[in-house]
């Protein structure tokens, strides 16, 4: 099947000053688009020609996995945001976070720490395990928790392209402001 760059539910400047319009012009319109284009160019004639994206993320290797997972990861990442984001989760997700981490503040600290200490390019994830409990994991490069049977709830892209124009080497500042744009309604529904 042919994949398409997903539409965003906000304009490219909507998350200023946390994430700049310029960053979105590259991160979404160039990087995300390139992963989509590369994937569409790679799959014809392979066993993944008619596969859906989740199958590609779970089963593929090499360049098809790298590009397919980066399409999935970026879509998931960009759809976690809202210009009216920030604050705290409510309902079942809030209860699960309290259960697993003790409090929302402790979760935020642990997730931020994971994102800050991932060495190189990659993603920090909040995932739901089969028993409903939560876990924070780090995945290098295009890594995606679906491959390990985990359900992604929230992710933070810590490839340098995600923050370098706005924050340069100050990854912790980027992570701190990431919390200001999270749409907890969307994220809560994933749980």
């Amino acid at each position: 099947m042919t994949f398409k760059l997903p539409d965003l539910p906000y304009t490219l400047d909507a998350l200023e000053p946390n994430i700049s319009k310029k960053t979105f012009e590259f991160h979404y319109a160039k990087h995300h688009q390139a992963y989509v284009t590369n994937l569409n160019n790679l799959i014809p004639g392979t066993e993944f020609e008619n596969a859906d994206l989740e199958t590609i993320v779970k089963k593929a290797d090499g360049p098809i996995f790298n590009n397919g997972a980066q399409v999935w990861n970026h879509t998931f990442f960009f759809l976690s945001f809202s210009p009216n984001g920030g604050g705290k989760p409510t309902g079942a997700l809030a209860a699960a976070i309290d259960n697993t981490f003790g409090s929302f503040e402790k979760f935020k600290e642990a997730f931020s720490q994971a994102a800050a200490t991932l060495f190189g390019s990659g993603w920090a994830w909040l995932v739901k395990k089969a028993d409903g409990s939560l876990e924070i994991i780090k995945e290098g490069n295009a890594g995606n928790p679906l491959r390990n049977g985990l359900t992604p709830i929230l992710t933070c892209d810590v490839w340098e392209h995600a923050y370098y124009l706005d924050y340069q080497n100050k990854r912790p500042d980027y992570i701190q402001n990431f919390w200001n744009v999270i749409d907890w309604n969307v994220v809560g529904n994933r749980y």
């Binding site: 190189g120 290098g140 490069n141 080497n169």
Partner: protein, 200 residues
């Protein structure tokens, strides 16, 4: 003995317009400095604190991840700043050119292979020209801050040229256009330094 961030042999703006001053300044005074400080912190008070960086790399698989990542970052950037410089670029000559032609067929064939290794490294990492134990020259690439001196490297040997393809090396000027950055790199390669490393 603590490791020290080396001073550059040229000003931050000396590689303009190929590498911009702001990138050079952040890359050296922030990223390289952080690897240096973190390496010293990882070694402080341990028996490894008196080893050379080369000795640390040689059996890095037995050391902590912090030594691997920050020791690699320290060594790799030390090499990088030396093999680039102002009034550089062009082609190597003498023994280095002869060795490149012998191992790759031609300078252009080598350049293509090295550029491709740099362009296709997925995520963060480095492209290398490596002198192997038998004297053969090969192109390789490593992820993150690994390098060919490390016992865990797929291709082992002495790096004599390296190119940083972490996004921090080029994002302010080239953004997603890594191939343009790689092309510009050839304008700042200090072939005299690479030739000296071949002889060493």
């Amino acid at each position: 003995m603590a490791f020290e961030l080396p001073k550059l042999d040229y000003a931050y703006n000396a590689l303009e317009p190929h590498f911009d001053a702001m990138t050079m300044e952040i890359h050296h005074s922030k990223h390289h400095a952080a690897y240096t400080n973190n390496l010293n912190a990882a070694l402080e008070g341990t028996a490894d604190a008196n080893l050379t960086i080369e000795a640390l790399m040689a059996n890095v698989s037995k050391r902590s991840v912090a030594v691997r990542n920050n020791g690699g970052g320290f060594y790799n950037h030390n090499l990088f700043w030396k093999v680039i410089g102002p009034n550089s670029g062009g082609k190597p000559s003498g023994d280095l050119l002869a060795a490149i032609e012998k191992n790759f067929g031609s300078f252009d064939a080598f350049k293509d292979e090295f550029s491709k290794a740099a362009a296709t490294r997925f995520g963060s990492g480095w492209a290398w020209l490596v002198k192997q134990a038998d004297g053969k020259l090969v192109v390789s690439s490593t992820p993150n801050q690994d390098n060919p001196l490390m016992d865990l490297a797929e291709v082992k040997g002495t790096p004599i040229l390296g190119l940083d393809v972490w996004e921090h090396a080029y994002y302010l000027k080239y953004q997603n256009r890594r191939p343009d950055y790689i092309q510009s790199f050839w304008n700042v390669v200090n072939w005299n330094e690479v030739a000296a490393r071949l002889k060493a």
